[in-house]
Amino acid sequence: MSLAADIFTVLCLLAGLVFFAAGSIGLIRLPDPLSRLHGLTKADNVGLFFVVLGLLPQAGSVLAAVKMLLIWLLLQVAAGTVAQILAEYAQALGRSGGGRR
């Protein structure tokens, strides 16, 4: 049982890392701010989901597991809205011709 949980954790964490890496590569390689933000936010949210999922069996108590899920939820909201705000700002900059990079 514990071995199965550990294998599950490792697999999930690895999957999460793949998504994080994809998001980071996207941040560096994608051409314009909007697609960079898009890639980063989506990939990181999924990556975090896998990390949290993988850690759930290791949480030790239901309360700790619930806390982790809440943190994931909070970061979902924060990352999503912040990406939106950044995108709007980037668009406003683009319109006024003041964009950098």
Binding site: L74, V77, A78, T81, V82, Q84, I85, E88, Y89, A92
Partner: protein, 321 residues
């Protein structure tokens, strides 16, 4: 494995620190500084200094970062910008490096086992009714330092307000500060503020309440509270404060003066200054800490906002709520 993690963390800290001092413009520097604070937070967590980590991320990176961001914004519009020359930078780097090497050598040569007051704190902590030794040191054993640190924050606010332009007739510091952002908040920003506000308030209360027993405390809680206020201001869900409001002054002064009053009351209800009454230490400490949380939150928010602007009073949208 942990060695690998530590090495990566140290490398990251050094790279980000270099980024802070080698940026192209103030804004880049400040963003790097905020990131540096977050890396340092991880370092503190790794050193098992969770209290310091929380303070670093909330005050060192968050609140300071916000103040610096606003300053960088102001610096961007300033006409000329004096950046230190190569010689100055090189000299500063050399001095820093020498001091770092000497410090490292000295720290490695510290006596082992290292003399510390941790045992003495643990021995006397039960007498305070608290469970978190850090809070015990801050609020009980070294209460004078903490009291005066809250006054330092107050002084910083007075100093910043003193930069306001002179105006006749009204009180010197009357009016509202300039808005945090010139842009109309987007729907996402408003939504974020609405969603985070209850969470932030909950975290504030938790930080200060739990701080008595686990790592957390009034300063971190206050920083979160201040952040919530700034979030509301950014989303224009809260009006810009009028600095001359007596209510605002009460919030700013509550912490330092509740602390001071408790200290003076110590002569009446206990053995002397900053001595807490026996048996009800904890309730008294919690009341004082609650006042400190509020004062720190409001003061940090006001520090971010800065002094009253010249014509801020008749700025459109200042009272849109």
């Amino acid at each position: 494995m942990s060695l690998f993690f530590d090495a990566a963390l140290i490398l990251l800290a050094i790279v980000v620190a270099l980024k802070v001092v080698t940026g192209r413009d103030p804004l880049t520097d400040v963003i790097a500084f905020i990131a540096y604070g977050i890396v340092l937070t991880l370092v503190w967590v790794r050193l098992a200094a969770v209290d310091v980590a929380l303070t670093e991320v909330a005050v060192g990176s968050g609140a300071t970062g916000l103040v610096l961001l606003r300053a960088a914004g102001a610096a961007a519009t300033a006409k000329q910008e004096a950046r230190p020359g190569r010689v100055t930078k090189g000299l500063a780097a050399l001095v820093s490096l020498v001091v770092f090497l000497l410090l490292a050598a000295a720290v490695l040569a510290w006596p082992k086992p290292q003399p510390s007051l941790a045992l003495a704190v643990a021995e006397h902590l039960p007498a305070t009714g608290l469970g978190n030794p850090i809070t015990g040191v801050l609020i009980v054993f070294r209460a004078l330092d903490t009291l005066l640190e809250t006054v330092v924050l107050l002084l910083a606010l007075v100093g910043i307000w003193a930069l306001a332009p002179d105006r006749t007739g009204a009180r010197a510091w009357s009016g509202t500060p300039a808005p945090l952002s010139g842009m109309t908040p987007s729907g996402a920003q408003v939504l974020l503020a609405q969603l985070l506000l209850p969470v932030g308030l909950l975290v504030t209360v938790y930080q200060f309440w739990a701080g008595a027993n686990v790592p957390a405390g009034a300063f971190q809680g206050g920083a979160v509270l201040g952040a919530m206020w700034v979030l509301l201001l950014l989303a224009r869900l809260a009006p810009l404060p009028r600095l001359e409001q007596p209510g605002l002054a009460v919030l700013v002064l509550a912490g330092p003066f509740a602390f001071l009053a408790t200290g003076l009351a110590g002569w009446v209800w206990a053995g002397g200054f900053l001595d807490y009454p026996e048996g009800i230490e904890k309730p008294v400490i919690i009341v004082v800490e609650a006042a400190i949380v509020v004062s720190i939150g409001v003061t940090l928010g006001l520090l971010v906002l800065g002094p009253a602007g010249p014509q801020a009073a008749d700025r459109p949208g200042a009272d849109a709520s």
